[in-house]
Symmetry: C2
Subunit: 344 residues, 2 copies
DNA sequence: AAGATTTAGGAAAACGCTTTCATTTTTATC
DNA sequence: GATAAAAATGAAAGCGTTTTCCTAAATCTT
């Protein structure tokens, strides 16, 4: 076996041709006689030669590498997005590199965002998920993106606020939540609580906007105690619902919970059980994201399939197509056992 | 704002120095007068100039990019490994790119492994997780790795068979399973089933090796019906246990299950419930990996914490250190409610 | 103040490819 | 068989850095 450091010069020398010809053999362009081509290919195979993508990048100005920035991979939901994006990227001959949001805009506690190590990577594009960010972090993200967009095209995904002026694949969170309220109202619920994301955002496409619309449409009295906020982990969901229980007389406890996501819904289940509530008779819970574990909880969790894998794939397609459109994705309810008719 | 395509020549021209000096300012090497340095830095800042990592790679022969190959990201377990690896890599100034195993060695159904798109990337290293592979796939992986190792250092992680001759961070699956059997025996169980990974592997560090040792130590009769194999999803776990129930008279049903991982354990829970078994009174189940959802299942799942995040970080450290050692990681039981004393 | 050091900074090569342009060889045309 | 057109190939420039080598300027010796 010949050592791996072969360059195009080694191949050219051994095949008795110029490097230009080797390059032509490699990429199939130009015109090469059948004999030369065969000889070149033989030498390439013998050396097990792979042209350096980074040298190729020097001339082509392409790296065939995309970046993806997600809040946190530990929510399996994001793993789905990444999987979808990764498959599509590879189908189109690209690598995709994952970065945590934290690495890009730093922690909430940090005074300064971290040094940007992305601008120098000359990525062919960047997919950024803008969810779960408190306002201050969103501002940081905005200025960071503004800088990065000079270097590479950017596509945003998730529940994208309208004031982000980028091509995007978004879902209509407000609409989704409004319809969720209707669904629960249809089951007879009148005390419907929501545990949503950060509240101070100015955009219209928020969970709580849809929630309020739904409550108003159903002509239910609006109670601020039925809205809680958290950042999307099971622990936080548990804490949030515990706090809600603690702050209300049992007669006023909600009979249905709309959870930010399935993790939060899991936390809510735990909190409800601690209070001795029967699920779903005493409390209906609906999650969001339809995690793989949702059907295995007891009761099996009713959720919303936001088609995250498809979302990831779409984002990559949009990015590589170069179009500047903003698209809204579909979603659908996945009915299981955690939501029941309310019987007073 | 000056456009983003600035090169070192633009900076040099505007600062009235040579590109060599700009380079020195950038990397802090050589000697540059304070005045020149200040001037250079000002121009760099004004242009918002970031040297191209790929051009740097041309000379330095380093890409500061690592690759990581995992079976499937959808098991949150692997998301943990990636997170740990990613954090450590960034701490050491590297990017890390994730690839699915499928992209490397193809599907079981494919006749040929896919074209290798990694060799030409000149990564600084590669972390490969070798779990959940049927024998034929393992062979493929071996030859693929043999080729790749000419280009970059490789570290293996997971339950690494001893016939893989690479630096590795491994856990001792056999030992773990043997102790799991002991634990269940200690609870009074005598019919202990195991749902493990692929069976035809020759290595000694396998779940079923440990399982058999444990059974033998406890002087329990060995029954082949108590061993099932699957590839690690909840659905497969459910199917496997259903099949086991179907093949045995109820009096011989196992009273305890050792599941390959928490997903499989979830599937087993579902299968048990379908048969009307009470958990954990009628059937104890222990998982592995301690997924975030384990405490939220009912009963809360007893599992094994294999410290995956740490595993990922360790792998990166080993890779970047250049050492060739093979290390074994720690693990520990996480006792919850899914395993109970057996009362006949 | 003259020589010896040290410091500062420029010129140019090198990294491994792609691509354009020019030249040579082959093939087609009459 | 001479000429035109097409095909095959090589030379060289260029991509954006780093780094070595060298010269010029500044500083230190005595």
């Amino acid at each position: 076996m010949i050592h791996s450091g072969s360059t195009i010069y080694d191949i050219a020398a051994e095949a008795g041709v110029s490097i230009a010809t080797v390059s032509r053999v490699l990429r199939g362009g130009g015109s090469v006689s059948a004999a030369t081509k065969a000889r070149g290919e033989a030498v390439i195979a013998r050396h097990n030669y792979h042209p350096s993508a980074i040298a190729q990048g020097m001339t082509s100005k392409k790296t065939y590498t995309l970046g993806m920035i997600l809040p946190k991979l530990l929510n399996p939901n994001y793993a789905m997005i990444f999987t979808g994006a990764n498959d599509e990227a590879r189908r189109q001959g690209h690598l995709i590199s994952l970065f945590p949001m934290r690495g890009l805009i730093g922690d909430e506690t940090e005074a300064e965002p971290p040094a940007l190590s992305l601008a120098n990577r000359r990525l062919d594009g960047l997919v950024v998920c803008v969810e779960y960010l408190p306002p201050r972090q969103k501002e940081r993200l905005q200025s960071t993106l503004k800088e990065l967009r000079q270097y590479m095209p950017i596509v945003l995904i998730g529940c994208v606020p309208s004031y982000f002026d980028y091509p995007a694949i978004s879902y209509s969170m407000a609409d989704m939540t409004r319809k969720t309220v209707s669904y629960l109202v249809g089951l007879g619920h009148e005390r419907i609580a929501m545990i949503g994301g950060t509240q101070e955002d100015q955009d219209e496409n928020r969970r709580d906007v849809g929630y309020l619309e739904g409550i108003r449409e159903a002509q239910l009295p609006y109670t601020a105690s039925y809205r809680a906020f958290c950042r999307g982990t099971a622990e936080e969901g548990e804490t949030a619902l515990e706090a809600m229980f603690a702050s209300l007389l049992p007669a006023y406890w909600p009979t249905a919970i709309i959870a930010l996501n399935d993790l939060v819904a899991m936390g809510c289940m735990a909190a409800a059980r601690k209070r001795g509530l029967r699920l779903p008779q005493d409390l209906s819970i609906i999650g969001c994201d339809n995690l793989y574990c949702a059907p295995y909880l007891s009761p099996a969790l009713t959720s919303i399939d936001t088609r995250q894998q498809e979302l990831g794939a779409k984002a990559v397609r949009l990015l590589l197509s170069g179009e500047k459109t903003r698209e809204t994705t579909q979603w659908e309810f996945v009915f299981r056992d955690s939501c029941a008719k309310y019987k007073p």
